[in-house]
Symmetry: D2
Subunit: 455 residues, 4 copies
């Protein structure tokens, strides 16, 4: 198997009911043939890997990837499942992300109206709903009944964190005669999907597991864009505008906004770049010193001298070395960072007092506000497409994969290729340079010259 | 010259003041080397051109393109202009698009703060401002004074349609000692840019012309995304939601929304796909019959029987064969389509009456509302980056080009490669299939079987 | 009967199930006693009627009103209908207004959860739904099923214009054993309510008719605020901002916005006052000359000379004397004004050309966009309260009345006092002065000195 | 002096430049005569004070107020200050409230364009800007330069909390030849205004002090509506919608939102009433037990059993008896409440665990997000009017007063009548009953029957 090969349940024997055809018939859209692929590395000459790519693959053997290609998503002319006798289930897992209801609706609509699959079941409250011990019932879904739900944030199916015993979940799929499981979730969920897929494979069952990647932090490996991310940074921008209004309205006023981003600062970086109001963006990927001549606080002092106010955006995972280890883990087992926002607020207040700068810090933590809203239209249409492509993939008999967006194309990625890594901002990239250009913050707020960010 | 070669004014002799460096120095971002390129065709094997691409190149000799590569944008270590003695001008042309002020601000900021260029001049009211006969003065620009303007729609520089005598404009550039002209505009403007570039070349002047593509319709050839488009279709979605509310609130209520899109229906298609409320999308690229057994009106009748309401989105350039030629042209010389929206409203009302269907048509033409607003955060950050990349390109001595977004990368496209064509929706593409899937409209509303859309 | 006396069906014999009580019991809210009243005229000394009031009563004998008082709305300790055996119906009539679904939801919720009325029926598509000939079925309503509908514009019950035969409608109420009819609508609907009420009275039936005033134009006589109006002018403000962006972006650019308001220009006036961008507000209540030395166009020319752009807001009912009578009437029999917006656009364009002013007119007609959206939170809470107060009134056995807001208090107005007049902007009022102050437009754009607006 | 008499600097000797006139002249608006007044108590018979009023006056001798009348605001035909030789200053104090820039702009515009006052000065950073020791300069203001600022939250003048030495401030007014001081602020600011007014009176100076009440909590005594409040509760509603999405998406999910409101829960109550999603509103005015059979937690348990999720809104000043006294005071000397939000979160989480309910609490504290935004259009127009009326009052020679909104009329209130009290929600009022009706929360969550809220 090559890295991006997609597992298949078997030979697709049924003709797709989509009735697409070419040129001179009634329909004008085309099926996608199985050999339609895009290059993993679009740079030329081939050895010139993009900075981002190089960064995201560190730890991996880059040469493994350099000649790979990735399957293009889309409707296939022949499908594996007989729509009339197919049952599908959908589950939403982990924290909320804008667009969950839209993806579910798109999956249900495409199954029902395009493939004429009639038995579609919603799994309640995440993977817990696949554990009969939880007592949750599967919920029959019909596209007309859930149509308006896409106007609301959250997930009407319910969600939860954490995985369940994989044998129990597969038993439950078998018991309920599920043929395709659409599983929407982040890193942890995709690991869960992988385990379910492996267990199904072990038992040699004709059940497909199709993942739809969901991470508000936009940090899934190899996946260029995840739904909800655009909505999240757009909404986060509102908090920053507020912080700026507060800062400007006070002498040496400082607006401090903490945004989501445990391991990667994309939300912080994107929101900052969308505005002209941010002076500092602190993210997990770029170390900074707080104290000392080149440290953040000293630079902040200079900024206040010049402009009498400042706006700071900090991702929740930044500057963790300053925090006493909280030790807490959340239900999925992720290490919960101590609060860099509160810490920074206190440190800045102390610094202002110590230096007689007057001033005041206005701290904003929008928290759930940026993730429990409905999607922007841009995200909404992305969700519609993700749902449709997931259905095409599932009905074709593919499994152990997820639907993703790369290079402006919807593709299939094997879940095995995705779960081993996290996407991060590359501090050497043009994107980060754009952020630096827009904020005017120093390229480096570390005191010692040092070997920085070895790849 | 190959298709995507970028003209250059000469050898870049100055060290960039950006002071980027690698790994162990102070800065962490990297310059982009001149040989960093992406493939034009990212499909593999190479001959498998993407549907979209094939469609957009029809008329062209596809084989010409298939092995081409495109230069990646970004800051160069050596630049052509000495920042201390460089003067730049910025002009905004044509109809409004959300984000114009953001692009201008980004150009000014990047020039001023990153490259320390101090003489930056705004051209008033489009190319007219480069014609001294118009009496408009150039307007000195400072980033601090225009910072907040990015919160407003429109263009504070002013705009106008139509080109001016190219020799007059180049005279004006020379007279004002302009070294780089940043020119933001659509198809007509890029043709103007090309003429200015050729005239400069003819006179052998060291003046750079850098285009920034602007089209709310998202229809510039080879350019995957233009700023303002996301804002436009997002805002258009609001009108559709209104049309849906009106439709649902009346027995056999029909909501009809006309959206921008003379030659391409991207706004209509994207807005429809973002919602679950649209039943028909009519675009210039996909012919439809109004009357007859397979025509639109007959299908509408069935829809009303099933659901008692319907929502229709029509791009202004759709169904032109039904309109008496208005003959009008706008100031840029574009043929002004007669009003398909009003026509459709009348035809549907007649059809309802003739068939005793009762019902009422609520017609919404949001017109300027979708183009004169400030950008969404997503568009705003795109504008910031476009402005920055345009500055990098201009300072490096490139000319006769525009900055564009392809395959998730900012690139340089020679303006010569862009001005000969228009981007359109490919009715055979997965995108259009997604729209059909989301709306449920028939794949084909044409009565006769026919050779459809020959490429 | 005095002007503001409220008809009652009979003695209220049942104890309210609300179980409010005073001071030392469990509940803390109070019932409203029947003698709680506010003055009609709150000025002192009494003879000093407010300008607005005087204006709105012209034609009436003002002295009749001067000592009147109005009943305060609210829950009564004793009610007329036995909740267990009460059936209620709700109908929404006329054009959409933001908040219709909210009012319906509030009525249903209050009936169900506070009064434990279980049989609640929705009338489909306005008064037509009370005519069996239309074939629409009554629709059973439960608060939990309609909860989320308040997030959507329109009315899920459906609406239509025009009245139906009153005897047919009362027959239908009797046939369906309806005890209280909640009827939401504008002037025409309230006249319909009045006719239904009179017919019920004639037949001596114990059926209550409670009106909830709805007019997006805010023009119901004696009613200070109607739901949806705040939403409408807030949304209209967006179009004006767009018009301003268009105007400013063009040399001698003119933004022209047509807003709803057949007989009164409240939406135009309020939207203008909310912004700093409007230079002219043209409303039906204030005559203006278009031509001549003091006319609008001449003043516009001066404005362009000073500022090179202008923003004009025109209510659809303004300047009707300039229009050729269209003769059209809408389904409710209201005279449909010819289009002042298109007329003005043409006249201004002609004027610009004739005077060689260059310039361009950008015309925006937001039409249904401002009325088919969900309500602002301010309107939403107003709707919640209107619905609750309507239920209190209906259950208490009141009839032939509507629930209204006056002097910051919810009151009961007899429908007879309301249907004979229309509320208008008083051009002598402080409100209009504020508009003039904010726009800077001339107090008078009429050429001849004249006896102006005799009361 | 009667309670609502307004102090005046002297006889108004100048003719207003507004040139209003009646009926047959050029202008159509009227001056307001000095004897135009409204009743304080609009109920009839007079003794029937409104519940709200009675509640807000407790502690006061109600009979004192019952026959009082209040002066109506508006332009006077004769004014005290000669516009040509008048200098005005504007100061914004205390915490941000949406609309500050709008009020300032309206004051400046009205002074400049209507009264032709040319010397208008902005005081920087609150009352501190009237203390020369702070080193802030007065800032000349021109309406054209600040026009667009009303699109931004915050205050471009800057603000600060706390008062300054009153003799120093009056010295500064005298030194700068200020004739009218417009002072925008909350309770503390109005006390400051009162002290300045008394000091001016003591020195017998012809300087007017006009207050414009600002409180995001809507809690200024006798003032029915303050600017920014509508914006605040509208924005707060967004957080509640998010909390609801989070709650619904989790099994036994609880959304908890803390909103502003130290002494009064208007924001919480209004936001809850605007939505259908809130199950509990906890405000300072209505005591509740947390524990025990009738306590909040026990009721919450029942709610979870019925519906598996709950949404709670708590005003920051609610339930203070449960908090260990933090002892902190803010710069204005207001006692800073300990955090009821964090406390409740912890208690609910403990309760869920103890009772094995599973579930999760999602806590949202929108904090500055609801106060640093620009105003809604409704608030914006209110700000425009407040500013205009303040100018009319100041130019007429009134002083020691504030401009306020009562019974749908702009009036003058002597600052002396306002500063001794705080407006609160009356738990016996129809408003609170509406909130209870909309949320379904118990009327009483206190264990012991008791003499509740004696007036």
């Amino acid at each position: 198997m090559r890295i991006f090969d997609i597992p298949k349940l078997g030979e697709p024997k049924f003709l797709s009911p989509l009735k697409l055809s070419s040129i001179d018939g009634d329909a004008v859209c085309n099926y996608v043939s199985d050999d339609r692929r895009i290059r993993f590395n679009i740079y030329y000459p081939q050895e010139v890997l993009d900075y981002e790519l190089k960064y995201s693959l560190r730890g991996d053997d880059v040469t493994k990837y350099i000649n790979e290609t990735i399957e293009v998503a889309g409707p296939r002319e022949r499908i594996f499942f007989d729509p009339e006798h197919t049952s599908c289930a959908i589950v939403t897992c982990g924290g909320l992300s804008p667009g969950l209801n839209n993806v579910v609706r798109a999956v249900v609509s495409e199954l029902y109206y395009s493939y004429h699959v009639k038995r579609i079941l919603g799994v309640r409250y995440g993977f817990a709903g696949l554990n009969p011990a939880s007592g949750y019932e599967l919920m029959p879904l019909h596209p007309d009944e859930i149509r308006t739900l896409s106007n609301f944030g959250g997930t009407f199916l319910g969600t939860s964190r954490g995985n369940q015993d994989v044998t129990v979940m597969v038993d439950e799929l078998v018991k309920n005669k599920i043929d395709v499981l659409f599983s929407i979730g982040g890193d942890g969920t995709q690991r869960g999907n992988y385990d379910i897929f492996k267990e199904i494979q072990r038992r040699n069952l004709p059940i497909s597991v199709i993942g739809i990647p969901k991470t508000i932090d936009n940090d899934i490996h190899l996946v260029e864009k995840t739904f909800g991310f655009e909505t999240a940074f757009s909404k986060a921008a509102e908090s920053i505008i507020c912080a700026h209004s507060e800062a400007q309205s006070h002498y040496n006023g400082i607006g401090l906004v903490k945004l989501m981003g445990r391991h990667s600062g994309f939300i912080a970086g994107y929101a900052a770049l969308a505005l002209s109001d941010v002076n500092y963006v602190l993210v997990p990927e770029v170390p900074f010193d707080l104290y000392g001549p080149k440290g953040f606080l000293e630079d902040l002092r200079k900024r206040l001298e010049r402009r009498q106010h400042a706006v700071i955006v900090v991702a929740e995972g930044a500057g963790q070395e300053y925090l006493t280890e909280s030790g807490e883990k959340d239900e999925s087992g992720n290490k919960r960072p101590s609060d860099i926002g509160m810490f920074l607020r206190n440190e800045i207040e102390k610094f202002l007092r110590k230096n007689n700068l007057g001033g005041t810090v206005k701290y904003i933590d929008p928290s759930y506000i940026i993730r429990s809203i409905p999607p922007t239209p841009g995200d909404a249409l992305f969700c519609s497409q993700l749902g449709q492509y997931a259905v095409h993939a599932g009905m074709s008999g593919r499994t152990g994969m997820l639907v993703a967006w790369r290079n402006n194309v919807f593709v299939h990625l094997p879940v095995s290729a995705v779960v081993n890594n996290t996407k991060k901002i590359n501090p050497e990239s043009s994107f980060w340079l754009s952020v630096l250009g827009a904020t005017g913050q120093p390229h480096n707020m570390v005191n010692r010259p040092r070997q920085y960010l070895p790849v």
